[in-house]
């Protein structure tokens, strides 16, 4: 189900950019947490329940790695816990590491949702006319990793079928992986060149060439776009006013809980949970129609 993906590409682009902008640049923990949970719920709604555990096995260790790495390199902070080679390892650095972990995982999850929702055709529809070369490069770069994973799976299966993929010991497995990876590098370079040549052969980027697309800007797109811009504006004005300022160094500051700040947290909360609500609504309507049949 991709109820959210049915909106107009321009609206989707504005939405993803505004969430990512706040999630990347505002250091308030409430905003970071709501971006993370909104992104996680959205990603779960887009993914089959069977894959949740597999994804979690990637994000949870990544989170702990980021959280533990920061105190090893950052020694600022008023509460030293112990000293490592003469350098303080501080509570503030740990907390900041956790905050960075929340931010990184949140942004990765949003990018994952982005790549699921904003397919290449939508991206090229938006930017193919204005910046043909750059948008082709961008759309190729964005779909590179999923494609790389798929192809890698194929190559390793083929090698296994030929009996070339030794899996007796860990070191052998590692060596087999390396040879697959080497083949993949050559393949990806060649594939990029071939894609570009094929697009050129189809007359991509030539003046006067028209494109067919099914996207129409309807009333509900207008509603979502204005809600999105309004909520982003409120959040940005609040940030510029310093209402959501939060510091980790040298002493962790207190969270601002004035009515205005709570209102701002709520505004961004709605923004980050919006796609999840849309997905849930779509799923409920679908269930209802199935039940009525």
């Amino acid at each position: 189900m991709k109820a959210f993906g049915n909106y107009h590409p321009a609206v989707l682009m504005v939405y993803f950019l505004s969430v990512l902008l706040v999630a990347m640049f505002v250091t308030n923990p409430v905003l970071q947490l709501s971006a993370l949970s909104g992104g996680a719920l959205f990603a779960m709604a887009l993914e089959r329940p069977g894959n949740w555990a597999r994804d979690g096995a990637f994000y949870v260790p990544l989170f702990f790695m980021v959280a533990v790495t920061n105190p090893l390199f950052s020694h600022n902070g008023v509460t030293p816990l112990f000293f490592l080679n003469g350098n303080p390892v501080t509570l503030e650095a740990f907390v900041y590491g956790i905050a960075i972990g929340v931010m990184v995982i949140g942004v990765i999850l949003w990018c994952k949702c982005y790549s699921r929702i904003m397919t290449s055709d939508k991206f090229l529809y938006l930017f193919g006319r204005i910046i043909p070369k750059l948008s082709l490069v961008l759309s190729m770069a964005l779909r590179f990793i999923p494609m790389f994973k798929r192809q890698m799976h194929r190559v390793s299966r083929a090698r296994r079928a030929m009996g070339l993929y030794a899996a007796d010991s860990f070191t052998d497995k590692l060596k087999s992986r390396m040879s697959v990876f080497m083949a993949m590098i050559a393949w990806s370079l060649e594939n990029a060149m071939e894609t570009a040549a094929s697009m050129k052969a189809r007359g991509y980027g030539i003046k006067g060439r028209t494109n067919f697309s099914l996207f129409r800007f309807t009333a509900r797109d207008g509603v979502l776009l204005s809600v999105c811009i309004l909520l982003l504006g409120v959040t940005l004005v609040g940030t510029a006013m310093g209402e959501m300022a939060f510091y980790y160094y040298p002493r962790i500051s207190h969270l601002n809980v004035t009515p205005l700040a709570l209102f701002l947290y709520g505004a961004f909360g709605i923004l980050s949970f919006l796609p999840f609500f849309v997905e849930i609504k779509g799923a409920l309507i679908w269930k209802y129609y199935v039940w009525k049949m």
């Binding site: 860990f170 052998d172 310093g242």
Partner: protein, 187 residues
């Protein structure tokens, strides 16, 4: 069974690297770190005086990082360590005295080791939570010995009896504390 042997070898190599890493790290509790031996000053002992000040921040308070704008981090008189006498041990550099004073007075200190930069000398990044660039792009810590700014790193300057070391925070590449050799203009 060759494959199992290979795995055992790989595990041994990983364990060896981990052992070397763990052996090279020294973990101290907070009290252990600050527990420093300070020699008593006797009439015969050689001494130096050290002070740490950040007066210049008071004139550029608006440029200071908002998270540091508090009496806790910037004292109202700008004095972090008033002139204090320490016994000079043979071969002590400016950095050794600063490190000893900071541990004795429990002042936070962060530095880049002499092996981590191209100058071959320790670089002081922050004292008392005030870091380089905390107060504008031209700010950071500098040191003066007997009123002169030496043009090299603090762990290369060996001190002599009776010298006066001052660590001062600059907000303008040294011009506001009297160091004229940086920034090019001698006005």
């Amino acid at each position: 069974m060759v494959s199992v042997k290979k795995d055992v070898l790989a595990i041994c190599a990983i364990l060896l690297i981990a052992a070397i890493l763990i052996n090279g790290t020294e973990i101290q509790s907070v009290d252990e770190y600050y527990l420093t031996h300070i020699d008593d000053i006797t009439p015969e002992s050689e001494t130096v005086t050290i002070s740490i000040r950040c007066d210049t921040i008071l004139d550029h308070y608006g440029d200071l990082d908002p998270s540091l704008q508090s009496e806790e981090f910037v004292p109202a008189d700008g004095v972090i360590l008033p002139p204090t006498e320490y016994v000079l041990r043979p071969g002590d550099t400016v950095f050794d005295i600063l490190d000893r004073a900071a541990r004795h007075e429990r002042i936070q200190l962060e530095y880049q080791g002499a092996d981590e930069n191209s100058y071959g000398s320790v670089y002081i990044q922050g004292i008392h939570y005030l870091y380089e660039f905390s107060c504008g792009p031209l700010s950071g810590w500098m040191y003066r010995v007997d009123g002169e700014f030496p043009n090299y790193g603090c762990s290369k300057y060996e001190l002599k009896d009776g010298q006066v070391v001052e660590w001062v925070y600059t907000c303008d590449l040294g011009k506001d504390v009297g160091a004229m050799w940086m920034g090019g203009s001698f006005n």
